[in-house]
Subunit: 312 residues, 2 copies
């Protein structure tokens, strides 16, 4: 008897497929039946990714037909039609009817949404937001993205563009972002931008380029060791995110903020400053907590399951 | 036959009651059957306001029992219980069971919500938002408040505190607000704060206090005449509001922003700058329009009607 849900995650650099028995969703800690991840070559296009993902899915399913296919996509998606709007990383995805193609390939209903919305749903249904109705999920990583769950349902906005906390402005006199604005949260709080600013400031202080690769992680490590330049950059990033969170609290009044992504591993200094700035920015009458995500890489996969749960 | 809806608006300085025939809601431009407004003395307390409002209501209703009572209150409200949390202007309202008292006084069901949520609902149901599903309403007046309509229903937040765009921070190095934060939208964009800054800057420029009373309106008038200090202050207020609007667009992605309140009468200069800053702050993929409210003083009353429409 068919009992498998297929979950697919189209990431910027990797493709992941996993299958779950639907009956497992009624247990306290559901586990994957099987999961497989492949890294995509840098010249991959949409056709390559789709073909690879369909092969992964069929390999995991064996001869079984899935009950439904839930999909996380790393870029803007029109949820209503199941069409990818575009990918910033991989060519060929513009206006791509992903839901339709997957429904044909697996002979089952599919639902497609962007990774931030799906991860928010995963954390709400099975992760750090299980006991609240309303949460804002933020991933702080290469970029800063967000997803909003209102009374147990994703709020996608009128065009599916809601949740973009990374592109809210918190420091209009701050440094310029690639998005064309100054002082948006992503410009100050994302890993690559913190690394960029650390490189620049180290070079200015030492008169020569720093040795070795500098990443968001090295900023966090140097800050943990008390290196003052790194400390300043990490604190400013945490502050910017905290102001963004406080602004969201005043506007939307969610019960909880769930934070995932590599930068959230930066340590207690970072968390303290995020929470302090968020609390200071929010009105006294507005209450919320700020907690780490339960899932790291798997949040979009679990969310993809939650996306189709009502279909099975 | 009973056919009257009673709408009540508890404002900071005035009380308004109005009655509408329910059948009028099925016409294109419903009109009040009768309306009455009284100004409250500066020493009024909650008991005085409630008694006065009940008298106004009975006077308008004559012998008729209303179908329902919709209420706008100028302060935070717990919508679920119909309890006023507090009033910043009038003593005695803390944790006041307003819905219960009005239901007893009029022998009809009542619903109570804060003025910004109610005005948002009024503009959505009968005003400038009639043709959209999802809008953000902003009143720019003595303060800057907001209300959010998602798919035709108010989004109040987990504690009923959503919509507070006035207390989002857009200029963290800006001037200090009474709320304890620097550079929140209200500090820069509200009428009294613009007037305050104009007085201060005029005095600094002229070496003596300016003659006569300076209000938000005088700043707008002086700016329209090209007076450079007033122009700078009005532009900065409009810019701050525009950044706040752009941030909301990125976070919530509503289809429309509806702006009401005295400051929105400041003229084309102000509107142009609000729209420019909002457009510049929002992501390129995020679309919305920014339009004037249809109702001035009456938005909360029409919203109070909409609040109970499903009960009648």
């Amino acid at each position: 008897m068919a009992d498998l849900i297929l979950a697919l995650d189209f990431g910027g650099t990797k493709l992941t497929a996993a299958v779950l028995r639907a009956s497992a969703l009624r247990t306290e800690s559901p586990n994957w039946q099987a999961k497989q991840r492949v890294f995509t070559p840098s010249d991959a296009d949409a056709r390559y990714e789709l073909t690879t993902m369909i092969e992964l899915g069929h390999a995991l399913l064996g001869d079984e037909k899935p009950l439904a296919v839930g999909v996380s996509f790393g870029g803007p998606v029109n949820y209503a039609t199941g069409t990818v709007r575009l990918s910033h990383h991989v060519p060929g995805w513009r206006e791509f009817p992903l839901q339709e193609r997957l429904e044909a390939a697996f002979a089952a209903s599919a639902r497609v949404d962007n990774d931030a919305n799906v991860a928010a749903l995963g954390e709400w249904r099975l992760g750090a937001g299980q006991d609240v109705d309303t949460l804002f999920y933020i991933t702080v990583s290469t970029g800063v993205g967000g997803g909003l769950i209102l009374q147990g349902r994703p709020w996608r906005g009128y065009e599916g563009m809601a949740g973009e906390i990374g592109h809210t402005v918190v420091a209009p006199d701050g440094p310029m972002c690639l998005c064309g604005k100054r002082g948006c949260v992503e410009r100050l709080a994302s890993g690559p931008y913190m690394a960029h600013d650390y490189r620049t400031q180290l070079q200015a202080a030492q008169g020569r380029p720093p040795k070795g690769a500098i990443t968001g992680k090295s900023v966090a490590e140097a800050a943990a060791n008390g290196e003052p330049i790194a400390l300043g950059i990490l604190r400013r990033g945490a502050w910017a995110l905290g102001v963004g969170i406080g602004n969201v609290a005043n506007l939307i009044n969610p019960q909880r903020f769930v934070l995932g992504g590599g930068v959230t591993k930066a340590g207690v200094l970072w968390w303290d400053e995020v929470r302090r700035a968020a609390r200071e920015t929010a009105m006294a009458e507005v209450h919320f907590d700020v907690v780490p995500a339960r899932y790291a890489d798997d949040a979009p996969l679990w969310g993809a399951v939650a996306l189709v749960e009502e279909l099975v």
